[in-house]
Amino acid sequence: MRGEYMRLSESIEGMAVKVVDLDAPPELRERLLGLGFVPGQTVIIGEAAPLGDPRVYIVGGKLVTLRDVEAQKIKILPIVDLIPLEMAKPGLYEVEDLTGGHRFRQKMEALGIKKGTKIRVIRNLNGLLAVLINEGEEVEIGRGWARKILVRRMEVKPRDDKSGFNG
């Protein structure tokens, strides 16, 4: 994997990444270090501004905004592509694991959820989800259950092209 890093600006919303290196000139470097962008630090990618740039990054619990110009100077590696369904933003996911007990698995099986099931999240209101199971009917899943379902994001939407808006 070494050398196959990405740029923070290329990461996708909801992803968790690890900072590998900073390419920034000394001045910007100090600033980024002070905000917590140090090698080894986990960063979660937050939402983009309405016009796609800048974006919010969650570093050590703080929300920090960076323009793509600056985020481009931070080398990263994606770390976890598994998240609890509770945290999933709308999109298509594949179930990787059910982390509950026997009863929980039974309940999930009754709903048609097992390893490999495709779940499309329609909306997520603080852990209360509306999902389509294998593109079927809309089902609501509460936070307690959603927390125990580990999923992997399947559709990796490329970021919107913003090249038409140049300074």
């Binding site: 290196d21 600033r31 002070g34 800048p54």
Partner: protein, 651 residues
Amino acid sequence: MTIKVALMGNPNVGKTTLFNALTGSRQHVANWPGVTVEKKEGVALYKGFRIHVVDLPGIYTLGSKSLDEQIARDYLLFESPDVVVVIADAVNPEQGLYLLLQILELRSDVILVMNAVDELEREGSRLNRYELEKHLGVHVIPTVATKREGVSELLDTIIHVHQTRPAHQPVRFRYDQTVENTIEQLEKVILSKCENLNVPARWLAIRHIEGDEIVQWFCESLPPIEGNERKKLSLQIARSRYDHINVIIREAYSGKSAPKRLPLDEAIDHVLTHKYLGIPIFFTIMYLIFSFTFKVAQPLSDLIDISVSRLAEFAKASLGENWLAALFSDGIISGVGAVLVFTPNIFVMFLGLGILEESGYLPRAAFVIDRIMYALKLSGRSFMSLILGFGCNVPAILSTRAISDPRERLVTILVSPFVTCSARLPIYVLLAGLFFPQNAGSVLFLIYASSVFLAAVSSVLLNRVLFKGEPVPLIMELPRYRRPTVKGLLNYSWSKGRHFLQKAGTIILIASIAIWFLGSFPPGNVENSLAARIGKFLEPLFKPLNYDWRITTALIFGTAAKEIVVSTLSTFYSSEGLSFTESLRNSIDPSTALSLMFFVLAYIPCFATIAAIRSETQSDKWTLVSLIYGLVVAYLLAYLVKVVTGLWLGI
């Protein structure tokens, strides 16, 4: 006995709230010498001590070159405060402790304040202050600045640290062996080369590795470190600091889960920065602030207006018909009154801005609109100020205090006068209605569009000339949402707004007397007044624009307040027997009228605005730059408009 205390910390950790809690109303706000960064000082009288507190700008590191960081660092190095208080956010302490570790390398008489412990407890976590004290070797005070909790303990500790220094030794923090080796070598060089150091050699060595040029000031000609090596070491140093901080947090916090956004915050953010809703919501909020500033405050402004004219009449009546009465009523009372009328607008504007800032929306607004402003080499933060300028340039310029980057603040202040304020509207309405009755609306739109265009072009231009075209970076933190407190809001608007009364008031007083004098001497017909003579004297200068002495004089009077242009024109033109509008229409042609509108758009806004520019930039140079730039642009633009429309209309 006086104790000098410096307050330091990241932005948005409640530093200003704590400052207010410490000093109450005994505050003084000024700019740091030569720059557009606020300097806040205050005094706490406590147990027989005068505790002098300076609220330093919010920063993340001591090292980078931003002006805020330089100010904070230089204060620490050269103003030698007795005690340094570092404030960290108890909920997300990492970045705050990072700054603390940097400061501890420089000095040991530091107190750590962990603010907002109530929010931490609401999350179900606790922090053990003694564990923090053990690891960091400094006093730790948990506070809730908004409720004044822990404030008196902090004051006691400040006195205690000041009295017992240097009994308390900070824990010396060790880096990786490779880093330590380099530090050690550098320390040796520093100690052999430079004597009488008043800062620790170890600190200098670390700063030298991190590439801080301030090191030169203490010890010249240190061996240079190659760029890649420097980067490697800097990253290692930062990594070790954060590793250390993470260990401390694990030890000192209990029940703290992985940092997580508050669900309510996340939901609010989702709406306010929404892909489609974000911008409409932003404009709605802007509109509310705008109408708040100019509509809600209007009755109060009118009240002041009426009181002022009553007072002027009263002065006239009681002093009799002489020049002294005229000076008081027409000069001083009316002149200063014309500015006092803005007071309600300004305080209401700051109240609105205070709600946005204290709640945490302001940085979100900057975030939402940033892409557009980035094209103008500004950031989203200036947008708010510029929009306010459509009402009045004075609150717009004063509101730039919410812009943290000094470069951006300066550019915003300098381009603000091009945003056409409501006082210029009567002139446009008069001229557009008189000369372009069919297309008055389109002409008005053209003027407003040109205003936006001028401000945009000027900001790009100024940025290119002054700062070599570097855009202002937008690296900022979105703080947690907070409910603004009444006390906080009053404090905010008073501390930001009272300058308007103080500074603009004094300059306006002088200007009003001067304008009155020019308009009234020698006594008799206004056509023979000094102002009219100046107008006649300057007439040749305005010949290319086809402005006669009457227009020239009106423009001179207009520098007191733009509305006066209309009243002056009416005085001069109605004296020819015809009605004022008829005689004006007979005297000038449409292309001159249009060019006059553009001249009014761009030239010196008014004395109140100049006074605001002067007091906010603290610089005669920039005030002069703004004046001259405005005049030059006005003249060229007016000439261009005249030539183009002249050709077009076939005149």
